[in-house]
């Protein structure tokens, strides 16, 4: 079944209450942050807390991600030493600008895996692109390591570095978002969108989620539990979409049975991409629990 990454909830790495509860809100992933949400003086404390949480807590099916500090800070190397041992599902690199940034982290991860006896390649990575150079290099970054499960856009830093601000329509990050989706799809990995900062603006959040879904993103980062169900709803196929997907597949089956070369449904030709989309709708429907294979036979 397709792995869902519709929502990745930010959890401040130095907050015990949030670290213990984060997986209870139903997001597909939780991201423990050691970077921007932790003050310089508390980096050591957050690292101990997240390390001990990961080696103690059972987060069930929720994917665990840790955002480390960059290797250009005094904290990045220690974050890796601790987190590769703690084995979250994914380690997220901040402010990735070049494929070398990924390879440098990968080299250290491998070194630690070898040192502590973890099978090389076990530790997965995700790269956040937060500046124009990273956006320009998105494809090179996306295909730089087999450990990468996805690339994400971080918009706050991005808009600052291109000398603008965030708007509700998001026109200023459209180019970067498009670049990132294309790069991720070309590399065969996940494309993940940035946060929507106003936790009281449900309508704005839903509109943005619809936009990024339409652009092709697999999901987005969220900063509050209330955003989780809103995003999941946007990503859940409707009954109409499911029925249409099933009809497409029925038409394919029928055409194969009758030996017909050209397949039509409601007067429109069905070709490869339409069939692929139908499969994608059903996979998403199965993964979100709104459709079961056996339903088809009822």
């Amino acid at each position: 079944m397709v792995k869902l990454r519709r929502t990745m909830m930010y959890v401040t790495g130095n907050n015990p209450a949030n670290i213990m509860d984060a997986h209870l809100y139903g997001s597909d992933s939780i991201m423990f942050d050691l970077e921007d949400s932790v003050s310089i003086k508390e980096k050591d404390a957050a690292r101990f807390l997240v390390y001990n949480a990961l080696t103690t807590m059972d987060y069930g099916d929720t994917e665990t991600v840790v955002r480390i500090n960059g290797l250009d800070t005094p904290f990045g190397r220690d974050d890796l030493e601790a987190m590769v041992r703690a084995q979250p599902n994914v380690i997220r690199l901040p402010k990735t600008e070049t494929p070398e940034d990924v390879l440098e982290v990968e080299r250290i991860i491998q070194e630690i895996e070898e040192k502590v006896g973890i099978e090389v390649g076990t530790t997965k990575m995700m790269a956040a692109i937060e500046g124009p150079l990273g956006a320009m290099n998105a494809y090179e970054i996306a295909k730089s390591s087999k450990r990468l499960i996805g690339i994400a856009i971080g918009a706050e830093d991005f808009v600052t570095s291109i000398k603008t601000t965030r708007s509700s329509e998001g026109i200023e990050i459209l180019a970067a978002r498009s670049q990132i989706v294309l790069a991720a799809r070309a590399a065969g990995i996940y494309a993940l969108d940035t946060v929507f900062s106003d936790i009281n603006d449900d309508e704005g959040f839903i509109n943005e989620t619809k936009l990024i879904k339409q652009l092709g993103f697999d999901g987005k980062s969220v900063i509050h539990p209330r955003q989780v169900s809103l995003a999941h709803e946007v990503y859940t196929p409707t009954d109409k979409e499911i029925k249409n997907a099933l009809r497409v597949l029925d038409a394919i089956e029928e055409a194969e049975r009758s030996g017909s070369g050209v397949i039509a449904l409601d007067g429109k030709m069905i070709d490869g991409p339409i069939v692929d989309r139908a499969y994608r709708v059903l996979e998403l429907a199965k993964a979100t629990g709104v459709y079961r294979e056996e339903d088809q036979n009822e």
Partner: protein, 96 residues
């Protein structure tokens, strides 16, 4: 681990614990604890603090702790942070 100065870690927010470790020359590890769940968990909280300190080879220290409902891994994390700060060490031995 040799303690050199007062080490402070944690907060008094819900689910956290504030730990202050002060080096001493003798007298073992002396822990004074304030906790809303003192009757039920007081002994256990002190045990986690003491075990964590002993695992780092600390034999003498005064510890003042204010607990706000921290679970074991939080107590351990805050104690370790305070210990490393007290010892003024930033080379960590992960996985031990």
């Amino acid at each position: 681990m040799e303690l050199k100065k007062i080490g402070i870690a944690g907060t008094v927010e819900s689910s956290d614990i504030s730990i202050i470790i002060e080096p001493t020359d003798k007298g073992g590890i002396e822990i004074s604890l304030q906790s809303a769940v003192m009757k039920q968990f007081g002994r256990q909280i002190k045990e986690v603090i003491e075990e964590t300190m002993k695992s780092k080879g600390v034999k003498n220290a005064t510890v003042r702790a204010v607990d706000k409902g921290a679970v074991d891994f939080v107590i351990k994390s805050r104690t370790l942070t305070a210990l490393y700060r007290s010892a003024d060490i930033d080379e960590y031995k992960w996985g031990e």
